[in-house]
Point group: C2
Chain length 203, copies 2
DNA sequence: ACCAAAGTTGCGTGCCACGCATCTTTGCGG
DNA sequence: CCGCAAAGATGCGTGGCACGCAACTTTGGT
């Protein structure tokens, strides 16, 4: 990867990170793109060369994570049963990467509160969900490859992708909702087991 | 229902309808809020007393439809098996209401094309998905009631709601994708059957 | 070392979301 | 039947955002 692409990725990451941090600190509409650009050391106009909107910048990290699920699925051994592979591919995205270690959160509770406020913003909810839709297309393609189904003809791969992402976001939403917190891995595993069992009504 | 509420509902419907029609005709960013307000016979400022954004106005009818799923589920006989009730509640929203009959579409193909262009708009995708999220909360509550589960403690009702809406939107998306079109009812039924069966990998 | 392509920046424009103050309509209690 | 409080509609003004356009700068292959 040349200097060009590396710099671009860095700027993108810096902008997204700045957008998230400032929004968690101050709230969505007390942050101007000008502020974000300044925090990332770039001109305000450049912001829109990377992201179409403030919301998109904030959702970018989430999008990246979701897209990696499809990539991980392709990396899994083809012999592995589909649902085992899917659940592992999702769980693999929940190990904290190096960028989290680099920027340790000072006040855990304050951060969580800020996150919750941030996600309450309508524009951002839409943006996060849209990221899910983009990732869904990728995942559906990967599922189609693995199962030998056809994206254009069959409902199956789309349905599986949608179900997987729905299970993931339901589990993480439940995680943000519960107090005291239940481990995410546990919730994800439970969700996948339920879906794979056809979500039978509890007796 | 008094004159007051009726008028309000009418204005809301008129605004949403005008927003959709104009957007399908001209495209999202060739329609100004001013135009929508004018078409609905109301002042531009009033538009924002009903909707927070242009996108919200367009997605409003979709939201209404989705919210009715939860209402329909509550109306179903409690003895009915859960998944039967859910699939019927969804299918019930696909009978054309009186407002469709009142405004017959002149050119079917042109309308479909406009719809597709409209739904390609990022802002609207987000808005449509957000409507789904709102409806999901309602549906989860209805599911919790019916199954005796707890919204705060159990993952189950949220998961079922998410799966149902995911299946619905996947089916309708597939409908918009297929050419020649497959009936929506068929796709919906197939989707529900697959989900209830745990989405087994095709042999 | 040069040059085309890619990326950044400044400027200007149209529109949008929304706060606030004012005017109009509604429907209820006397 | 009437007047009055509450709800809603409207006009105006403001801050900010998305984006087109036209320089200017950096990159990396030849």
């Amino acid at each position: 990867m040349g200097l060009r692409e590396r710099k671009k990725a860095e700027t993108r990451a810096a902008l997204s990170w700045a957008a998230i941090r400032l929004t968690v600190e101050r709230g969505f509409d007390r942050v101007r793109v000008e502020d974000i650009a300044e925090a990332a050391g770039v001109s305000p106009r450049t912001f829109n060369n990377y992201f179409a909107s403030k919301g998109e910048a904030i959702a970018a990290r989430h999008l990246d994570r979701l897209v990696r699920i499809a990539a991980e699925l392709r990396r899994r051994p083809p012999a592995e049963p589909l649902w085992e592979a899917l659940s592992q591919a999702v769980l693999a995205q929940w190990v904290p990467g190096p960028e989290v270690v680099e920027h340790p959160v000072t006040d855990q509770a304050e951060w969580a509160a800020g996150l919750r406020i941030m996600l309450a913003e309508p524009v951002l909810q839409g943006e996060v969900l849209r990221a899910g839709a983009v990732a869904e297309a990728e995942l559906a393609a990967a599922v189609a490859e693995r199962t030998g189904t056809d994206l254009a003809r069959d409902l199956y791969p789309h349905l599986v992708a949608a179900a997987v992402l729905a299970a993931s976001s339901t589990a993480t939403a439940h995680f943000l909702r519960t107090d005291p917190p239940v481990p995410v891995n546990r919730l994800l595993t439970e969700a996948f087991a339920l879906v794979a069992a056809g979500l039978p009504a509890p007796s």
